[in-house]
Symmetry: C2
Subunit: 291 residues, 2 copies
């Protein structure tokens, strides 16, 4: 069965059974959050969330390549005035079945509108849990480097003597040691806080996250032509990001109308792709990556 650039209708737990082992480079997904109310989309009760998720996590583990990465965008609901614990219980369960909890990225939302409740402020961040099958996994850090801060141009233009001898004088880690490496460098590595706006620029659909979010992780963990899976595809944002970056996608969703939306967006994206390739800095990034 060919799964490249396909979208499947159904429960990912069942659909994935027909996928071969170790076939996907990156899983990026944002499953339906637990919900008290009856189902609009998913609608899993918080207390049942872990049990609902784990069989799927098992399939993810099977179909992910050994050096691949699983990024899970998830948020716990406030239930009865408390943050529910299903997310942290999920982390513990994932480790029990063999996943490594490698990292927790934070999506710091740049522009949410104001809000106020008696006992809490607006929730302005979400977890992006990184899981891996092995301690060694593929990561292309150069692909997401960001411009260096303004401090550098002053500092590096006239290297001070102290910068060079720091590491000899003290036990501390010597930043001055190879300061010469820094001359002419204009990009630095980012941190594990991803600071992006919340809105999606496309107005025909409502996506849970902006395209930039999967874009960042797809750049970081895959190379062109790698395969990106989103088992809860929703309106198809992950697939759109993958296509824009020259990767292949596989998507799964239980709702036929979401699949229609995804397909329409993907078609639209592919039509615009040559234009994007010319203008977008995102697309250019491929050329600069280390190999």
């Amino acid at each position: 069965m060919n799964i490249d650039n396909q979208i499947f209708l159904g429960d990912c737990e069942k659909v994935l059974k027909s996928f071969p082992d170790n076939c996907v480079d990156l899983i990026f997904t944002s499953p339906p959050y637990a919900d008290q109310r009856k189902a609009t989309y998913g609608g899993i009760k918080p207390d049942q969330y872990v049990n609902w998720f784990m069989p799927k996590a098992n399939e993810f583990l099977r179909i992910l390549k050994p050096q691949g990465t699983f990024i899970l965008n998830i948020k716990e609901r406030v239930v009865n005035g408390e943050r529910h614990t299903y997310v942290i219980e999920l982390i513990l369960k994932m480790r029990e079945i063999g996943w490594l909890w490698t990292e927790e990225f934070i999506w710091h939302k740049k522009n949410s509108y104001p809000g106020k409740w008696p006992n809490r402020f607006r929730d302005n961040w979400e977890r992006l849990l990184q899981f891996n099958k092995n301690k060694k996994f593929r990561m292309y850090q150069e692909a997401v480097m960001v411009p260096v801060g303004d401090w550098a141009k002053d500092r590096l233009s006239n290297l001070s003597n102290k910068d060079k001898i720091r590491d000899e004088s003290k036990v501390g880690s010597g930043f001055g040691k190879n300061i010469s490496n820094w001359v002419g460098r204009d990009k630095v590595y980012p941190t594990n806080v991803v600071h992006l706006a919340t809105e999606c620029s496309n107005q025909n659909h409502s996506a849970a996250f902006p395209t930039e979010l999967p874009t960042w992780f797809i750049k970081l963990f895959t190379q062109p032509n790698d395969l990106v899976l989103d088992p809860f595809l929703g309106s198809g944002t992950t697939a759109v990001a993958a296509i824009q970056l020259g990767r292949k996608y596989v998507g799964i969703d239980t709702e036929q109308n979401y699949i229609e939306i995804s397909k329409a967006r993907l078609l639209d994206t592919q039509i615009q792709l040559p234009m994007i390739a010319e203008n977008s800095e995102n697309y250019q990034v491929e050329d600069k990556r280390d190999s």
Copy 2:
């Protein structure tokens, strides 16, 4: 025993036994993280961390007022390529003994420790876990409102008109309606992401966190003359923040030399206090709080 504005030498678990029930309005603390600060505090092994912490958490629960709040600044260590789970296990244990896990604030650091590793970026955030004894707790949200200018350039300005319309139709409850509430105001509520720099160039002491961090939470959860406890006082930052804001402090630490440092800083703060009261906007905040 009078505990107001006192600093005690010893293990907080033992020292707190002599405190009466329900005597503290806010606990703000940053305990030694697992395997960290070995030089001064001995270092707790990650696997033993929860067992080390829980008896203390029990005392905290006893001495906190029913409407009070416990803010725990903590971060998990990377062990063997994985994030260790002691923090999330701690949350589950805390709930078992009666704490409510009300909220998780994020401290988004402006300047994190530099470094590059094959498998991860710089860790640029820490958890600030909020625990309470009851669903109803005291919170003075007006005290931490931020000037609309600072806020707008970060958030509102990024929203286009179309986004506002789209959001309004999507949520129904009406972003447009919401936004009109904020037009013309000069202050807005913050979110649960606190964006501050670490202090790195104080010469007399090494504070793990900047004064602004306890300041923010002390304003949010206490009123003047309330009592703020830091059971792992360290260099006394929490106590300094409390005094600056006209609150009372209690501090506990196991290291005599840290206590000396704290006392010196507090003396210094009190000398400068009249000056601060005249000039600081922070100090003025008391007058504007809602009651």
